[in-house]
Amino acid sequence: MNKLKTTTYIYILGLLVAFNMLSCGSDDDATTSVEEPVVKINHGVAVVSGAGDVKTTFLQGLTNLNTTSIDNKNSTEVGQFSSVYSDGKAMFTAGFGSPATMKKFVFDKEGKAVLEQEIIIPGSNSFSSVEILNETTGYATVGGGISKVIQFDPSTMRITGEIDIKDAGDGIFYSDMIIKDTNLFVALNDFGGSGTAKVAVVDLKTNTLSKIITDDRTATLFNTLTSEIMTVDAQGDIYIQASGLFSDKPSGVLRIKNGQTDFDTTYFFDLGAAFGKTCFGLYHFGEGATFTIVSENDDNFFGTDGANPVFRYQKIDLAGTKKVGDLETSLPNTFAASRTSFMKKTSDDEVLFPISGTEEDALYSYKISSGSVTKKMVSTSGYITGIITLKQ
């Protein structure tokens, strides 16, 4: 009996001590003041890590991209699924989740991405498109019924103005933006409701909505953050890719001729006819280097089926309105084109793009001059959703 009592009291004491230790413990040791060498960061990479339903974006800086493998052990946890942008000096994230939050990260002397400032749009769901023009001017749109283009200063992370685009319609998602001359073209996604492709034209001289242009040969300018559906070619023509989702229209590419603010009725690239499937994204890096991504299974266009990645990078001929073929036939399929795909030009001759697969997550390199494709680096900690390059 006494022994049991003693055991009991030891048990209680143990529990209390354990609780005390646990509640008081784990403060970091005081750091030493040894001066560490400055790490020069030239690139920023965003990786989405996690399994099951617990995933988030991690940011890291790289001195150069000539590494065969990256992980996330020295990455900064963002706490949101985010796409990344840059003004050449810092790394900006725009994340899914209410309210829309854009974060500016700078790289400290150890090369860590450190949060410097945020822009938050109350009442909105998430940023839907971001376009950073230079170090002092950027534009952004948000989802969730806030019918505005936000003008901001990336250097100070301050909102500097708003452009009311309410007249573009209610319940619209702003998919992508592109600035051409003194106009801002905003891709409008009405989720197939109108059965047309719609673009808002904003006059940046007056910061007012000039007009809405529509084209019923395709519909649904569907796009989310990391990918792009608007591009400008060397002639200054704007090309806009539509998915046709939620409508009976095919995927397609429309054009706005240089200097014009209307769709070119003489041009239509029927991607549906070319591929027989839904296409997402449009990337143009010069003649012979134009790409879209084709879904091989429209039931799975978000690519979250654990077994079957369904998207393939395809080369297309914009001027000739015809498909060219696989970007590289040996490439595996990739997951989740509309959320995680991107193509990023990192030098005059190199474009990087990710493959998120069942066996590997990797960044591939496409050489514009030769058209060759090589694996650039493997990510062992998740799929890569963005890359930015800082100015030297």
Partner: protein, 791 residues
């Protein structure tokens, strides 16, 4: 066809029960305070028969011959009593109230509990915690908070009264844990599916509950649903004596909790009861470090009170029936109406304040319950037939944008605070439920238990606001689900009942019908599933002090209607290829009891596969549920109770649970095995509770009582995202919680009234169960409970 058969059986039993009228001695055994004595032994010498009183102290000896009968009534801690009863032809049925006298005023409570219904459940083969709610009727504690005091149980709450909550039992949580009210699945009675567990539990205040049974691992067949690894049964009060009781409490944040309970029993056995409660709270506690956004779009941290989190709920329930009849121990017809109003203050990580979105619920429950021991020889029956209607309204139709100060700072051009469409959604769900529970007592050591539950649920709705957005009112499309759950258990004692074995098999079947929207048209989708589960458990009473238990269960949880067929209102698409969640559950441990202390420790193991997880995507694209991840849970929970003297008691429990991912890449949604073996994120793994209670009797008057208690809850910090990802020093963390509560209560000599004063979170610590979502700081509670009348 098989659904209908349950109802036929139910009514057959009602018919059979009416035919059996014999010479009978029945009654109730109570103590000198009028409290029923559960487990008292009644021996009738002439027929050499004995019975034990049930939880309400009632007993019945039927099929007796006419003439004189000698009864010996005994109960631990009370003087044994002899009674002579004459059964005459003209009066073949005698009802007797037997009052036993306590042997000593100092008799300790541990001894009394040894024969209580709660202890019987605890001594069963399954691992179970029992919380006697009666001890908390004088306190301002919520049902959610009371549940969280059990070892192995974690309740994660998102704020104050009526806010969302998630219950976990030994690492399994959400839909894997099932809740019951008197053995009836709680989602048949309360808006669990529509609003979640938190608001539903707020519609079941502690003062209406007799006890909570928390089954861990192997769930007994009497809990008739497909729980994966745990079930909670809240047993409501069923007194068998006249009483009127009321309580009223006022707490910080303008919180009111009132309840009334009354029952009348006539000599004929006719009984009528009335129960009601009203709970309301502004939940306007102060939040720290929330952001308001300046004109430049930058956040500025402020401290502000919640401004749109009011909660109100009330319920009125009446019942009439008969008790202690030869054909029924209890037959009750009950009706209840409940109403709920619940404002929604913020999104799930408390980053976006809302100012107008809210939920309203009305529920109507009608039930017929029938209980009879020895319905026919050696067969006990418990039957239930219920019709319930749950009407939920979700309003999210404002264009206003609010900041944390409660100010309108802008307007959207479209969409609500939560949904893209805006909503004025009304859903009406009707549910018919039947339950049969039969226990055949083949001999004192062998019981065969059958439990069958069948339910028919149908729901449809309307939303004119969303219809404007979508072009059609898709909510008008009905959804339905019909379920049958059957289980058979065999309990058998060996070696003079030192070892008890309990074997069970369960069969689940459902047919669900819903709709999905494709090309702007609603298409009917239908699904059927049949699965089974099985369990085997043992208890070994090694000596009078030590009880060991071992249980194994192969548990199955079928995908529910939303997971399988999707739900338009929740922006979830159908996935007919979903597999059931399956789990192998093992529990091993024991309890050691002495006169002044007891200790128990249980280890648990879970191997869960095909976990159903929502893969969320931004609306209007629909999310889907998918089978992802396989998890292994290893843990240990322990509890010690000490009552060294009658005036002080100490309870301490702790739980450590290690949840590890056991999925290879194929089932994780990733391209390599780096998460294999990693601890699951966003899950508490170390937590515990403690309470010290000091009771001073005979303070101002003989037999009055002054109680003082200190209780505490500890939860170790844990990561929001996977531990192995990113730089450790700046990962997002749900911080350690260690909260302390104090209370004092005075009860007068006849238990006529109790005055209670409590303070929770006395050090005003910031507390989080979910990332970023702050719980209340220090709060004060005053409560008065009075027994206006007690027979």
């Amino acid at each position: 066809m098989h659904y209908n058969s349950y109802f036929i059986i139910v009514f057959l039993f009602f018919s059979i029960s009416c035919l059996s009228q014999q010479a009978t001695i029945s009654g109730v055994v109570i103590n000198s305070k009028g409290e029923p004595l559960s487990g008292a032994h009644i021996y009738e010498s002439k027929a050499n028969r004995s019975v034990v009183t049930d939880i309400s102290g009632s007993f019945e000896l039927d099929n007796l011959s006419l003439g004189q009968h000698d009864l010996t009534i005994s109960y631990i801690g009370y003087y044994t009593k002899q009674e002579k009863i004459l059964l005459k032809k003209e009066q073949p049925k005698v009802k007797q109230t037997i009052v036993l006298t306590q042997q000593s005023d100092e008799l300790d409570e541990v001894t009394l509990k040894a024969t209580s219904e709660a202890t019987k459940i605890k001594n069963s083969t399954t691992t179970v915690s029992v919380i006697k709610a009666q001890a908390f009727h004088t306190r301002s504690i919520t049902t959610s908070d009371l549940l969280a005091t059990a070892s192995g149980v974690q309740v994660r709450q998102s704020g104050g009264v009526g806010n969302s909550a998630e219950i976990s039992i030994q690492g399994l949580s959400g839909r894997q844990v099932k809740l019951f009210v008197d053995g009836i699945p709680m989602d048949f009675l309360l808006p669990v599916e529509e609003l979640g567990v938190g608001p539903s539990l707020a519609m079941l205040p502690v003062n209406l509950i007799k006890r909570m049974e928390i089954y861990k691992g192997a769930v007994p067949v009497s809990m008739g649903v497909d729980a994966l690894g745990g079930a909670i049964n809240m047993v409501t009060r069923k007194e068998k004596y006249d009483f009127v009781e009321a309580s009223a409490g006022y707490s910080s944040f303008n919180t009111w909790r009132t309840s009334i309970n009354a029952r009348k029993i006539l000599a004929s056995g006719f009984t009528a009861g009335l129960t009601g409660f009203y709970t309301s709270s502004d939940n306007n506690y102060r939040l720290h470090d929330v952001n308001v956004i300046n004109e430049q779009g930058n956040p500025e941290s402020i401290s502000a009170k919640k401004f749109h989190d009011s909660f109100r709920s009330y319920m009125i329930k009446a019942d009439i029936g008969m008790i202690d009849q030869s054909w029924a121990d209890r037959i009750l017809l009950s009706f209840s109406y409940a109403d709920l109003y619940d404002e929604i203050q913020h999104n799930f990580e408390m980053r976006q304040p809302y100012g107008e979105a809210l939920n309203r619920v009305s529920t109507y429950n009608n039930a017929l319950q029938y209980e009879k021991k020895e319905l026919v020889k050696n067969l006990d029956a418990n039957l239930y037939v219920g019709y319930n209607r749950i009407i939920t309204n979700f309003d999210d139709a404002t264009l206003n944008i609010y900041n944390w100060r409660g100010e309108i700072v802008g307007q959207r051009t479209s969409g609500g605070e939560i949904t893209a469409s805006q909503n004025k959604l009304k859903l009406t769900g009707d549910n018919i439920t039947g339950r049969i529970n039969l226990q055949y007592n083949a001999n004192p050591a062998t019981k065969l238990i059958f439990n069958g539950v069948t339910s028919f649920f149908k729901r449809s709705g309307e939303d004119p606001v969303a219809a404007d957005f979508y072009g059609e009112d898709y909510f008008k499309n009905p959804v339905s689900i019909n379920k049958v759950t059957s289980g058979i258990g065999l309990e058998r004692g060996f070696f003079n009942e030192k070892i008890t074995s309990y074997s069970a098999v369960k069969l689940y079947h459902y047919t669900a019908k819903g709709f999905e929207i494709e090309d702007n048209e609603a298409h009917v989708v239908e699904q059927q599933k049949t699965e089974y589960g099985a369990s085997q458990s043992f208890s070994w009473k090694m000596n009078t002090n030590f009880l060991a238990k071992l249980s194994y269960e192969y548990a199955t949880r079928l995908p529910d209607r939303i997971e399988m067929l999707g739900d338009f209102s929740a922006a979830v698409a159908a996935n007919p290829n979903l597999r059931p969640e399956r789990s192998h559950n093992i529990n091993l441990g024991g309890t050691y009891k002495k006169k002044t202390w007891s200790a128990e420790a249980y280890g648990f193991f879970r191997e869960v596969e095909d976990i159903i997880i929502l893969q969320a995507v931004p609306p209007p694209v629909l999310s889907t549920y998918q089978n992802l991840l396989k998890t292994r849970i290893l843990g240990v929970e322990s509890e010690i109770k000490i009552t060294p003297t009658p005036w002080i008691s100490l309870v301490l429990n702790s739980t450590f649970q290690d949840l590890r991912n056991r999925s290879k890449k194929e089932n994780s949604g990733v391209s390599n095995d780096r998460y294999f073996g990693a601890r699951l994120p966003n899950k508490p793994y170390l937590f515990g509770n403690g309470e010290v209670q000091i009771t001073q009797r005979n303070l101002m008057d003989k037999e009055d009582r002054l109680q003082f208690w200190w209780s505490t809850r500890y939860v170790k910090d844990f990561f929001r995202y996977w531990e192995i990802d990113g730089r450790k020093e700046d990962k997002l963390v749900i911080p350690t919680q260690w909260l302390h509560n104090l209370g004092i209560a005075y009860t007068d000599k006849q238990n006529r009234y109790t005055i209670t004063l409590e303070t929770n979170n006395i050090f005003n610590r910031q507390a989080y169960d979910n990332f970023g979502v702050q719980k209340p700081g220090r709060s004060w509670h005053f409560k008065l409970k009075t027994s206006l009348f007690k027979s």
